[in-house]
Every structure is written in structure tokens, then in C-alpha cells.
Amino acid sequence: MCLAIPMEISRIDGYTARCTAKGIARDVSLFLMQGEPLAVGDFVMVHVGYAIQRVSPEDARSSWELFDEMLAAENGRA
């Protein structure tokens, strides 16, 4: 529940952004990001459906790689 995932903004409509991460698309609220101008192509850290902070593309990619490794580890051991 507390795991936050970086996602890339692909569309913005008011406080709702269509975001993608590794081929998965979700509607994400930007309500907590008021005062932080965001645009299509930016990356945000998403927690329980809400963007909580901007992140760099490099950080997003390294987090995604980590998630892949951890999922592989879980599937291998669980």
C-alpha cells in the first residue's frame, strides 16, 4: 500500500493526468501537486492514485528496474 511508483504523464485534464509506467496506464490525481507546474512528458511519484512529487526520468527508470528485479525475486521465492 505504501509503495509509490514513478509514472510518466501522457495527458492532463484538470487535476487528472493519464500516466503510464512500463506499458500500464492509470488515471492519477494531480490535486496534491498544486503549485508545481507539470506537463505531458514529466514524471511523477504516484502513491495510492495521487502524484506526491516530481521525479527525474533517470530516477523513474532506475526505480522501474528495481521493481522488475524485486518482482523476479518474489516470484522466484514465494
Binding site: L3, S29, L32, M45, Y50, S63
Partner: protein, 366 residues
């Protein structure tokens, strides 16, 4: 950027000063530590302790009981984060002991992944009372605040079980038997709240502290930082996740938390009451307070400290006093398929994380 290997070799190159206990208070940190096997590669003198980093684990038993009773007896639609559904309460086996069992008994219980889904369910069912059972730390409570500020329908109420992380750490450090030497500051709590609220670790207790992200290299950087601070006798609050954690956190999120919630004393399952560690809805948002809307279902009489299921050692696991494998139920009577305590239910519970990363009970227990 310095990689995990480089941080590890720097840690190994530090002179050893005897045993060092470093606590983390975040399920995400514990997951990375366990799944990347950090404990097995660090020097033997460094112990990584998982502290109270699982909001589902510390959610009071009386709140879970109230949610179950609301779902069973009042006909409400009860929505909760998926982790909450299998958390058991202390009732005889023949009774309904979890939200999952309430659902099986015909109650309308639904798992959601976001407060927005709770709002959407209430909007789609205007004739129903929808109760959102909201457990979580600051990172989750900011989205809960946002969902109410954005405009929630009147048929939505919130059974609030949110907690602040730092008061629990302060309580641990103040306890007489505390033998912690350093703290890894939670990454996403600080992303929202800023780093400043952790300065008490250094200022009041003189302990090294460092905020970390969720990759092994970020955690190793934080471990190196606190070991070096300790070595040099000059503790400070370091930020090893500075690309995401800003000094003042996310000001908009903090403002929304302040507008929606007051702070109150709160009970922590297995720990007991901690002053100023819980949230309460402020007017006018208190019209969404499920405790005020359904006062008959409040079970104050159930409140007591240390209320884990019989034989379950989750209370000591939550406080970092023992490792999961030291509980006699771990992996024997208590598994992810058939959990006894909340630490084996939640993805952020130390027992569940330990099991998932391959930790198995010692043979001596058989």
C-alpha cells in the same frame, strides 16, 4: 551516481566499532533490504531493524472490529485498502474475524487502491452509505485529505485509522530499553512532510539519521552515512534521497493535511496509545466522520494495548524487538496463506516481507 557496490565497499572499509543497530520505519525500505539481501552482505556488526513501518499492522483491533460490524450489521458498503481485508481480530474462530470473512458472509466489502475509488463508488451508489476504512501513514493521509477537499458526496464517510510516523519513533527512542544507534528516515513520508520533522532524532537523542530512497544504492548510501556520522561522533540529518525529498516536502500536500485533519492521541495495535500520533477530521469535514455517523458501532470497550491475537508476537516485531523468525508461530502456524497476526497479512509487514524474501523458521521450532 555511486552504485550499490561502491557504497558497500565504503561501508566495509569503515573501521568496525562494535555492534550498530539501525532502524528503518518504512515497509518499502524493509522490502528492498529483504529482497535484495542487504543483511547478508553487510558486516556482521551492522544490524538492520525493521521498526513500526506498517500502517496496517498498527491499525487498532477495535477499528478493524468496528469496520467488520459496520459491514455486517448496518448494510453499508465498506471499502478499504486490499491489505486490510485479511487482518484478523481477536474473536473465537466461529465468529466473523476479518473483513474478508464478512464479505464471504454476505457483507458488501470492496478493496480499493486509492481514495479516489472510494469517492467514485459513493458517486455511483448515491442511495448507499459508503464507509472508507482508511489506514495509512502521512503518505496515504495526504491523498485522503485531497479526496475530501476535491469534493466527496455526502453518502461517503471515513473510518479514519491514519497515523503519524515520527511520534512512534520518538516514543521508541524515549523508552528505557531503547538500544537503537541510528535511524533510516522514511523516504515517501518525508517526500510529503519534508525532512525537518526528523531533526529531533539528532537534536534530542544525538543519533545519526539519514533519509533513503527505495533502491539498494540509496539505502546503502544512508547506511554508510549513519555509520560514518557515528564513527566521527558528529550526527546530522542526512538526505540520501535528495532528488525526491525537498527540505519542505510537498507544501501543497502539507497544507491540505492541515486543512482537513487535526492531530490527536491514538492507539497503535500492539504498542498502545501514543500522544499526538493520529488524525481526526476537522469541521466541516467531520460530517464525513464514520464514527460520528455510526456512533452505535464504536467499541470503546475493546480498546486495550497489546491486543495481538493469542500467541502472536507481532507487537514485538512491530517495535523491532525481535526478528520475524524469532516468533514461534512464524512460518509454522502463521503463513501468508493462513496469517495469525497483521505482520504476516500486509505487504508492508515485516513477517510477510521476511517470508517473501525466503526467510524460513529455524529448525529448533519444529
Amino acid at each position: 551516481m555511486t552504485g550499490a557496490r561502491e557504497w558497500l565497499s565504503r561501508i566495509r572499509d569503515l573501521p568496525r566499532d562494535g555492534p550498530v543497530k539501525i532502524m528503518n520505519v518504512c515497509g518499502g525500505h524493509e522490502r528492498t533490504i529483504a529482497l535484495s539481501g542487504l543483511r547478508s552482505v553487510l558486516p556482521d556488526t551492522v544490524a538492520l531493524i525493521a521498526g513500526p513501518g506498517c500502517p496496517v499492522c498498527v491499525c487498532p483491533e477495535e477499528d478493524v472490529y468496528q469496520a467488520i460490524q459496520l459491514a455486517l450489521r448496518s448494510g453499508v458498503m465498506l471499502v478499504a485498502f486490499g491489505d486490510m481485508l485479511r487482518v484478523p481480530v481477536n474473536l473465537p474462530k466461529r465468529e466473523v474475524r476479518s473483513l474478508e470473512q464478512a464479505k464471504a458472509a454476505g457483507a458488501d466489502v470492496r478493496a480499493v487502491a486509492s481514495p479516489r475509488e472510494a469517492v467514485q463508488l459513493a458517486l455511483r451508489h448515491p442511495g448507499r452509505e459508503v464507509v472508507f476504512f482508511a489506514a495509512g501513514f502521512e503518505t496515504t493521509m495526504a491523498p485522503v485529505a485531497a479526496s475530501l477537499l476535491e469534493g466527496a458526496p455526502e453518502n461517503l464517510s471515513v473510518l479514519l485509522a491514519g497515523r503519524l510516523t515520527w511520534p512512534a519513533v520518538r516514543m521508541l527512542l524515549e523508552s528505557e530499553d531503547s538500544c537503537l544507534d541510528a535511524l533510516i528516515v522514511p523516504g515517501h513520508v518525508s517526500t510529503v512532510m519534508g525532512l525537518g520533522e526528523w531533526s529531533f532524532v539528532v537534536e534530542a537523542f544525538g543519533l545519526p539519521a539519514a533519509a533513503a530512497g527505495f533502491t539498494p544504492d540509496s539505502l546503502l548510501a544512508a547506511i554508510y552515512s549513519v555509520l560514518r556520522q557515528r564513527r566521527e561522533g558528529a550526527p546530522f540529518l542526512d538526505n540520501c534521497y535528495a532528488r525526491v525529498i525537498r527540505p519542505d516536502g510537498n507544501p501543497a500536500a502539507r497544507d491540505q493535511l492541515r486543512r482537513v485533519f487535526g492531530i490527536t492521541g491514538a492507539n497503535w495495535r500492539g504498542v498502545g496509545p501514543i500522544p499526538a500520533s493520529g488524525y481526526v477530521l476537522r469541521p466541516p469535514f467531520d460530517r464525513h466522520d464514520a464514527r460520528l455517523r455510526f456512533p452505535d458501532f464504536a467499541q470503546a470497550g475493546r480498546k486495550r494495548a497489546g491486543d495481538m491475537p493469542a500467541g502472536c508476537d507481532c507487537a514485538r516485531v512491530v517495535l523491532g524487538k525481535i526478528r520475524p523468525v524469532e516468533c514461534t508461530l512464524y512460518g509454522i502456524a502463521c503463513t501468508p496463506q493462513s496469517p495469525v497476526g497483521p505482520c504476516m497479512v500486509s505487504d508492508e509487514g515485516a513477517c510477510r516481507i521476511g517470508w517473501t524474501s525466503g526467510e524460513r523458521p529455524h529448525a529448533a521450532h519444529h
